[in-house]
Symmetry: C2
Subunit: 417 residues, 2 copies
């Protein structure tokens, strides 16, 4: 048997065990799931020395591999960051359990009483890159929703993820839940990712967490449904009825608070009648160190080229364009958006309503920073990512979006005429 077949067989075995665990998790009590997460949090804190030691090996490997300082920073764990992981686990433990929630119920003239009830999805595969804390975050959120999870961490964080995973398993064991509820793929071999993406019989959904390279690969190769966004090409439109002070505050925040996140603004659209305000905003962005690539009629740092429309910089760069009116802005967004998040700045309710109705992105904002595009800020407690697809999960994906549902129908010897 060659190595590829070995990995395939190993992944299949992991799938079989995940599916069996999911069967038992579907009726695990809320108390048991919360206890498992609390015990895991205790274990992470108690074993922080081991985790930091394992992380040291990853850092060494990363430096040898020549990772950038930014990537080394993402990979690094210290006592503060471990405290953050512990806090995250306890927060998820305290969330309401979505499983068993009655989403709707009604009576029928036939005498039937019908309930629509939340159930777990089953088995979730999570594929991520260098951040070792995703091991805990993703494991906790999927468990909360009653799912089994197969975690596949980045090769850079291999040892750190294993050490954190051991703590999650300790939590499951303490709560009497199946240890296979949270499995970590025990190899760095990339063939394991390909195998996971094909496991339609064992995996219900794949969630990739990482850069465009990873997400694109998963979207192209997966035969299993994927919850993800490839890019956050976020547009902010300054309407003619925009309030200047709000506009200045919101655009600056949307672009500069953090430039590397998916909710950061990447393109500014300015109504022709708001030219003066638009130019003032652009000047402020330039003064704050942002490179503004401006279309005709606007003075930026440099002139925009056609490549700048529909581009995700993830950096201190923004494109800017003058549009004829709100419909010009909507048309530009429909053409170039990645359906993640867009914002309108306006005091005109009619303009806001038109924007909300005609732009079909997962998140639409009015007079608010696009950097609020986040499950925590939405009040979902935690998110496993943001999805831009139209099916099932859209926007921030929290515990509730990791569930399915079924119908419970009760009669009294009721037959259909």
């Amino acid at each position: 048997m060659d190595k590829g077949q070995d990995i395939h067989a190993m992944m299949r075995e992991i799938g079989v065990r995940a599916k069996a665990a999911a069967g038992a998790l579907a009726f695990a009590t809320s108390e048991a799931k919360a206890a498992a997460l609390e015990a895991a949090a205790d274990a992470v804190w108690a074993r922080r020395g081991e985790i930091i030691e394992a992380n040291g090996r990853d850092l060494e490997f990363g430096r040898e591999k020549g990772l950038s300082p930014a990537m080394i920073d993402r990979l690094m764990l210290d006592e503060d960051r471990i405290a953050g992981i512990v806090e995250g686990l306890r927060a998820v433990a305290g969330f309401p359990d979505p499983v068993g929630q009655v989403m709707a119920e009604w009576d029928r003239p036939s005498g039937l009483h019908i309930k629509r009830v939340r159930t777990p999805l089953g088995v979730i595969g999570v594929i991520y890159e260098s951040r070792p804390n995703v091991t805990a975050d993703a494991g906790a959120l999927t468990l909360k929703a009653g799912n089994a999870v197969i975690l596949r961490g980045g090769s850079e964080s291999f040892h750190s993820s294993r050490a954190i995973h051991a703590c999650l398993v300790e939590g499951l064991r303490a709560a009497g839940l199946p240890e296979d509820a949270i499995q970590l793929v025990p190899t760095r071999d990339r063939a394991a990712v390909s195998a996971l993406l094909q496991m339609v019989d064992f995996v219900d959904v794949i969630v990739p967490r990482g850069g465009k390279g990873l997400v694109g690969l998963v979207q192209r190769e997966a035969r299993v449904p994927v919850f993800a966004h490839l890019e956050g090409i976020v547009h902010v439109y300054i309407d003619k009825a925009a309030d200047p002070a709000k506009t200045l505050a919101v655009v600056m925040n949307a672009k500069t608070r953090r430039t590397g996140i998916c909710g950061a603004a990447e393109c500014l659209l300015v109504h022709r009648d708001a030219l003066a305000l638009g130019q003032q905003v652009i000047d402020a962005l330039i003064a704050a160190g942002v490179e503004v690539r401006a279309g005709p009629g606007l003075k930026g740092s440099v002139a925009a080229s056609d490549d700048d429309w529909g581009r995700e910089y993830l950096d201190a760069v923004i494109a800017a364009k003058l549009v004829e009116d709100i419909d010009g802005a909507i048309e530009h967004i429909r053409r170039y958006s990645s359906h993640h998040t867009e914002a309108i700045l306006t005091e005109d309710d009619g303009a806001a309503a038109r924007f909300f109705e005609r732009v079909d992105s997962a998140i639409l904002m009015r007079n608010a920073s696009t950097q609020f595009a986040d499950g925590g800020e939405f009040g979902m407690g935690a998110e496993i990512g943001i999805a831009t697809g139209k099916l099932h999960a859209r926007g921030p994906v929290g515990a509730e979006q990791l569930t399915s549902f079924k119908y419970i129908v009760e009669g009294d010897g009721t037959v259909r005429p």
Copy 2:
């Protein structure tokens, strides 16, 4: 250019037009959509002569092709059946419009007000077999939810479907909605089906309506998400706490009311302590002309073989098996079910709760006939089919399940710290 490329180009053109229509439909008013359906109903009735004539050509083609009497009956339209189509269109016109419904709304400490609002899915592809009325039903339901639809009818109902489709387009025109909102693939060539299944850039969901052959083909070949069920392997479990009168009524109805529908019972499971009742039910089924294929300990018409577990007969045949206890029944169902519909007959609330919790099928019933597994009976007005997948739509797929959602976030110059 060869014929395959021709069809491919034609289907692409249909996709482009559907997507453009979907963009406009997303903000069509409820009144316009209802008016289009009412006008379509008027047109179907006014043009019933033409429709019956077109149907005559299909019947002739079908007889030449040697279709079975059952299939000829499914294909046939007379004035009564056309009145049924008209009634169906008017019923859907009267449904509440799901688009724009606020599914949830809440405030955040940041000052943001967040709403989760229903939106159309986009473009739906519906692939069906010989029943020409599906043209009207599927066209109406997808339009109601603000979607554009690409209909691909069976080759047997080609002329009937075209005649009905012309009436739907007349309705769209009368209401000022884009005519491309409801398109019918204008060829019998099977290459059009393959093309439709691959159109990830233009089609959001495929709904196949028909037998296992069609659904299996669609599920294997589609690169677009599919809402469907392959089979309805429906189990009815007689618990030890079953009420005899209810049990007899429910099982007889679940099997014999109509044997060819997906909600018909296909396997009877009998608790060892309910043996006498189970045997009485089996005797009644046999007396009603049902062939009972019984496992050890039960007296049926014939002995069951291993092939009888997990089998969909769609006929006056049922398998029957004695189980040790409720967990034996649950285990059998988990192994053999198609996740469509299962029922328990019991007066014991604890047993019902255990069954509901541990069986993961789209619809679970207690003391009620599985033949209620239907969108109309659920109060959804109409259904485009029943789905057994776990993502997005599950159970009967009505107008609401043909929608997606987006988040509308309102602030007042709100920025993220």
